[in-house]
């Protein structure tokens, strides 16, 4: 995939994240600053133990990079400086950006699995279906 197409992919993600056709235009931005000391916007403590997933049918099993180091121990949190908890998800793993994601197998994965070799950085975006 070319650099240009990857830039386009990032731009599409930005568009998805910023689009909210159902939202009233008068609503203001809730928070726009990354601050380590801001309390978490959580309904539950961020270091709550993660529940075990129920088994479900998937198209393909998830894989963990064998070169990935063990996931760091907690306590976990969602603030700057915290260790982000390792959650398990289902969906479409698309590390190369070479296709629209739902053309790929539906699978189970986790933050640990997506971590790869443990080099570099991940951008994790939490969105809501509207």
């Amino acid at each position: 995939m070319t650099h240009l197409s990857r830039c386009i992919a990032a731009c599409l993600l930005v568009a998805a994240c910023s689009s909210d056709p159902a939202a009233p235009e008068a609503d203001a931005m809730v928070a726009d600053v990354a601050v380590a000391d801001v309390p978490a916007d959580l309904g539950a403590p961020s270091d709550t133990p993660v529940a075990v997933d129920a088994p479900v049918a998937i198209d393909a099993p998830g894989e963990v990079d064998a070169s990935a180091p063990a996931y760091p121990d907690g306590p976990y949190g969602n603030r700057m400086g915290s260790v982000l908890a390792n959650l398990t998800w289902q969906g479409y793993v698309n590390p190369t950006g070479e296709a629209i994601s739902n053309t790929l197998p539906y699978t189970t994965t986790s933050l640990q699995a997506l971590r790869g070799s443990g080099r570099g950085y991940a951008m994790v975006h939490v969105s809501e279906f509207l």
């Binding site: 990857r6 992919a9 990032a10 599409l12 993600l13 930005v14 998805a16 994240c17 910023s18 689009s19 909210d20 939202a23 235009e25 203001a28 931005m29 726009d32 990354a34 978490a40 916007d41 959580l42 309904g43 539950a44 961020s46 709550t48 993660v50 129920a54 760091p72 976990y76 969602n78 603030r79 260790v83 982000l84 908890a85 959650l87 998800w89 289902q90 969906g91 479409y92 590390p95 190369t96 950006g97 629209i100 994601s101 739902n102 189970t108 994965t109 997506l114 971590r115 790869g116 080099r119 570099g120 950085y121 991940a122 951008m123 994790v124 975006h125 939490v126 969105s127 809501e128 279906f129």
Partner: protein, 99 residues
């Protein structure tokens, strides 16, 4: 970002505060033509990502060596103003040493 070694993870964490479905995820991807990893919570765990990571439009940059959050921003939940991703991309590129 991908070329520079970055990982992008889009988690559709809720549908009106309820767990989103696979159909919701497919619709989300199709609507925006998303070519990035796109995920939902497994069935049976509720809105676990929302409860653990925080409200939607939370965008984290995580050091993959330590899994420590090195940057966090909450974007425009109402669709007005810059998204969290838009605000995080410059920092991500900087961390990755990408132009």
């Amino acid at each position: 970002m991908l070329d520079a070694g970055g990982v992008i993870v889009e988690v559709l964490a809720s549908n009106a505060n309820a767990p989103p479905t696979r159909n919701n995820l497919n619709s989300w991807i199709t609507t925006f033509g998303l070519p990035v990893t796109a995920l939902i919570d497994p069935s049976g765990v509720g809105t676990r990502t929302l409860n653990t990571y925080g409200v939607r439009e939370s965008t984290f940059i995580v050091d993959l060596a330590t899994m420590v959050v090195v940057f966090k921003v909450n974007g425009a939940v109402a669709g007005v103003g810059p998204s969290g991703v838009a605000q995080a991309i410059p920092r991500m590129l900087e961390l990755l040493g990408a132009p």
